[in-house]
Every structure is written in C-alpha cells, then in structure tokens.
Symmetry: C2
Subunit: 135 residues, 2 copies
DNA sequence: ATAACATCCGTACTATGGTACGGAGTCAAG
DNA sequence: CTTGACTCCGTACCATAGTACGGATGTTAT
C-alpha cells in the first residue's frame, strides 16, 4: 500500500498535478481528508493504490474514446448494481470503435497512396486533394 | 460545373453553413468575389466543383487525424512544389494512425471483456475498473 | 530555524473546432 | 412590390480537456 502525494499519484498516472486536480474537480477522483483535521490548514493529502488504479482507469477509458462525463458514469457504475447499463455502454463503445477503426484504416490507405504519389522523384506538385478523392 | 450558394456547398460537404464560413475564416476555403463588384453590397457568392472537392478533402483529412492547421498546410502543398514535405506529412500521419489503431483495438478487447463480465445475469456490481486493469 | 521545495486552492487562461445571434442586404415567387 | 427565404458579416458564445498563476501554507534537509 504505497502512500503518496498528489505529485506521486500524477506520476503513476502519467499526467500532471494540475490534471489530477482537474479530475478531482470533475468528481472523477476523490479528495482525501487532510490529516490535520478539517477546517484549519491541515497538512498534505495522501493517496493510495486505489487512487492510482482509478486514475489509470480514467486514462485507459479515454483512449477507448469515452468522454470524461461517460467515465464518470462508468466509475459510478463500478460501485453500483446496474450491470445492464454497464453492458450497454460497453457495447455502444465497441460499435463506435469499430466504425472509428474502419475510418482510420481507410484514411491510412489514402495516405499510403498519397505518400506514394508524392514520393517519386519527379518534379512538380503532387495532387494531394486528388489522392484523397478516390475513397 | 454546378454553381451553388454557400448552403449548397455546405450540403455537399456534409457540414453546416457556419462551418463553411469558419473554414473560410481559417483560410482553408476561399471566399469568391461577390458578383456585383467589390465595395458595395454586391450580391450572393457562388461556389463551384473545386470548392466542393476542397471541402470534402478537409473533412476526409480530418478523419485521418490531421488538425485544421495541418490541413491548411496540405492545401498549400497541393498547389506547391514541395513533394518532400507532403511525403513527410503523410508518413508521419501513417505512423500516428498505426499507433492509434493499435490503441483502439486494445481498448476494444478490454471492452469486450467488460461487456462479457457485466453481461452475465448474476447480480451485484461488475468490476469495471478491473476489467480495464489487465491491459 | 531557515531555505528550498511541494501542496493547496481559487481563479483565469488556453487550444481546438465549431455554433449561435442579429441586423442589413439580396433575390425569386406570388 | 411585398413577403419569405437565404446570404453576408462581425461578434459572441459553446463544449471538451486541460494548463497556468500566485499567494498562503506545509514539509524537509541542512
């Protein structure tokens, strides 16, 4: 159970301190009690493994294309009972990912054609707009 | 050579009129002369096939992950002589796309596991954070 | 115990890619 | 010859996801 400060948490999650604080403001990460009690200027907050896991989850879910709002919902679901909702969100995202992957693959093919067309040693402009035309 | 208004151009490109105007402001699309001459309140601008192709290129390049700034550069290159630069931009984007596609594929696999874990009829919370953990 | 550095927190600012508003001008149909 | 739809243009506003600032406070090493 490595306890750390906000900078350590940020490092573990591969983000900046300000980003952690931003996620706290958005309600995606908790803000642990300051050790010196509440109201007064109470000391430095400590973070644990759960926070690190949670932060890493946020980043991973982002690469999956979830928005921070959706990630908030997923985090709420993680604690809740609504398996059906979780299942639905996952399915929806898979469909969106499949579309996106297909789109990127098509774009890749166009770029390959473009690189090919512009890669020759012959002079003059290469038809960039046209290279994307024949999709 | 179908001549059209800004609304027609927008329709052909699958965007809104305001988006066309935004691209004009960004310098990605030209702003044709108003027919009634310059200074006075001169009439309605007309757009042609070249504009439509250019707009469609912008949208396609966006799906390839180019930013609007980069697209501006590509459009400039389309008219220019710098084949090498065009080739470089295309290659760079292909590398980025390959990374992105791999990332999305990994995310898809995680989501499939998640959907599976939460899809069973058993009760209780499903471990959403954990489903993404074992990347 | 003091310097150096980190944390805390509110607030403000940034980048990207649009979207909306409102008043004035233009144009085609009835 | 007016009505209604569309255009023009500047300006303002929006969502998303951060990033920066700066003063007060807390912690640690010398």
């Amino acid at each position: 159970m490595k306890e750390t400060t906000i900078a350590g948490l940020a490092r573990e999650g591969g983000v900046g301190v300000e980003t952690v604080r931003y996620y706290q403001r958005r309600g995606l990460l908790g803000t642990p009690q300051r050790p010196g009690g509440v109201g007064l200027g109470g000391g430095i907050r400590r973070y644990g493994d759960d926070d690190i896991r949670r932060l890493r989850f946020i980043r991973t879910a982002q690469t999956a294309g979830f928005t921070l709002d959706e990630i908030g919902e997923l985090l709420a679901l993680d604690a809740g009972e609504d398996r059906h909702r979780a299942h639905t969100l996952a399915r929806e995202r898979i469909v969106a990912l499949d579309e996106k992957i297909a789109e990127l693959s098509a774009a890749r093919a166009s770029l390959l054609r473009l690189a090919d067309a512009c890669g020759s040693t012959s002079k003059g402009p290469c038809p960039i707009i046209t290279a994307f035309d024949l999709e």
